[in-house]
């Protein structure tokens, strides 16, 4: 498809405009609450929705992540001189450094992100946001800050749980099926452990948590039009979150492993 130079310029200026608007909007989002108790209540509700609400899907995905990683590596290493316990080591580090934070957050961008965009966008369309504004509520802060803070708090925990379940998934896919022994897998898990990798996992989890809540909140908050536009905003929220998560993943890897 041919895209003219003018269209490209328009697209770039539109992205920059959104970026500027997003950055300026953050000042309203992180503001002193009108009532700490109400914000805390909303924070706890979000902890439950994002944390407990996402646990089953994260657990399911994590089991298969670990299982597939083990099977793929076993396939690639079979017949080589690399000892089998290395697979436990590879699964552990791959899970901690990359798979748990990135996969979990990509999935959460779909589940939590689209939910946030639809919820806030729906409130915009039903005039709930206008109603709160007229009451004197700082809607940017009340509707967005508890969600972002809850995500920053609970998503690193979810990522931790995901890593744990993923490693267990690797165990379940290899030991009972006779690929190698329990002792070999556990030896691999305990070998060459670098605590810094866990730090990297948490850095990724925190950054991704911010992206997957802030970007959808922005898309929902500024939605204009009807249900078709709300659907489009929800889709944009997930797509942009995913792209930004992958970009951030690359940058964090670059910076923290330099």
């Amino acid at each position: 498809m041919f895209v003219s130079c003018k269209d490209k310029q328009k697209m770039i200026s539109s992205y920059l405009e959104h970026l500027g608007k997003f950055v300026l909007w953050q000042r309203n989002v992180y503001n002193k609450p009108e009532n700490w108790r109400m914000y805390y209540k909303e924070f706890v509700r979000q902890l439950y929705d994002i944390g407990i609400g996402s646990l089953p899907i994260i657990a399911l995905i994590s089991v298969f992540l670990g299982a597939v990683t083990v099977i793929q590596f076993y396939y690639q290493m079979e017949g080589t001189l690399i000892p089998p316990y290395y697979i436990g080591y590879i699964v552990r580090d791959m899970t901690i450094i990359e798979l748990a934070p990135t996969f979990t957050c990509l999935v959460l961008a779909g589940k939590v992100g689209s939910n946030i965009a639809s919820e806030i966008g729906g409130m915009r369309q039903k005039e709930h946001i206008d109603a709160m504004e007229i009451m004197g509520v700082n809607t940017s802060a009340y509707l967005v800050m508890p969600k972002v803070l809850a995500a920053l708090f609970i998503i690193p925990m979810l990522v931790c749980v995901s890593a744990l379940i993923s490693i267990m998934g690797g165990y379940l896919a290899s030991v009972p099926t006779g690929l190698f022994t329990s002792a070999e897998y556990i030896l691999g898990l305990r070998s060459f452990f670098i605590p810094y990798n866990v730090f990297m996992m948490f850095v990724k989890a925190v950054v991704f948590a911010f992206i997957l809540t802030s970007v959808p909140a922005y898309q929902g908050y500024f939605v204009k039009g009807g249900s078709i536009e709300l659907g489009a905003a929800s889709t944009r929220a997930v797509v942009f979150s995913d792209i930004l998560i992958l970009l951030a993943d690359y940058l964090i890897a670059l910076v923290l492993t330099a």
């Binding site: 009532n35 109400m38 206008d130 109603a131 504004e133 007229i134 009451m135």
Partner: protein, 253 residues
């Protein structure tokens, strides 16, 4: 009292409001009327500060809306109640929680005080006992009344109603009009109602502002409506053929 001076509002090249001056009086039902697209909703949104005028000023008593700092604006907003066209009730909260929301957010009242106030407001709008129902479980008329109860819970000085009768049957519409009117007079509130319902105009229109193509076409009270010779007003009031016939018959035509 709310006063607007030379209010203009443009969206791109289109000028929607073209220099409107009007005074909305305290203790009266002030109606903004006009055809669809006349600029009523834009004017209402400018009055409550959701839109900024391109030119002109809005005065709440001695305070100019555009000149307030953040804290002053917040204090003013707490004196404002608003009934939305679609009610804007929070779906995830029941009736009681909806009404209690402004108190939870802005007051340090005890749970008992809040409960008493909620019950009082519900009694005021004749919805006693509906505390635990959700917006989806009650009728449109009841939702309007919950909206009114929420709008008056902080005892506002100014009440805004956007199309309070839209989607209601004529009898319920009259009940809602009477309720708004009683609350306005009893509490000496400056009430601004955006409507194109002719019953409202004739029943509660104490101070009417007729907009036509973004300009103030006529102002006056309900008593002056019938006898006015303003063409835009007559055209608006007697828009339906039925009313035209009635008028002609009344005049002996």
């Amino acid at each position: 009292m709310i006063r607007i001076q030379d209010i203009r509002k443009s969206f791109g090249d289109v000028e929607v409001l073209k220099g409107i001056n009007f005074e909305f009086e305290a203790g009266k039902n002030n109606l903004i009327i006009g055809k669809s697209g006349a600029g009523k909703t834009v004017l209402l949104k400018i009055l409550i500060g959701l839109f900024e005028p391109t030119n002109g000023s809005v005065w709440y008593d001695q305070q100019q809306l555009g000149g307030l700092n953040k804290d002053q604006l917040k204090a003013l907003r707490m004196q404002i109640g608003m009934l939305f066209q679609g009610n804007a009730l929070f779906d995830s909260m029941n009736v009681e929680e909806n009404i209690r929301f402004p108190m939870d957010m802005f007051t340090a009242m005890t749970a008992k005080e809040k409960q008493d106030r909620v019950d009082l407001c519900l009694e005021r709008v004749s919805l006693e006992g509906s505390n635990l129902k959700y917006p989806s479980e009650i009728s449109g008329g009841m939702q309007k009344r919950v909206g009114i109860a929420r709008a008056i819970v902080l005892q506002p000085k100014y009440l805004f109603c956007d199309e309070p009768n839209s989607g209601l049957d004529p009898k319920t519409a009259i009940t809602i009009d009477e309720l708004i009117s009683t609350i306005t007079v009893d509490n000496n509130i400056t009430t601004v109602i955006n409507t194109h319902d002719m019953n409202s105009v004739m029943e509660i229109g104490d101070n009417i502002c007729l907009l036509n193509q973004g300009k103030l076409a006529w102002k006056g009270g309900k008593e002056e409506v019938i006898d006015s010779e303003n063409e835009v007003l007559q055209d608006f009031i007697f828009a339906s053929p039925f009313l035209k016939k009635l008028k002609a018959r009344a005049l002996g035509g």
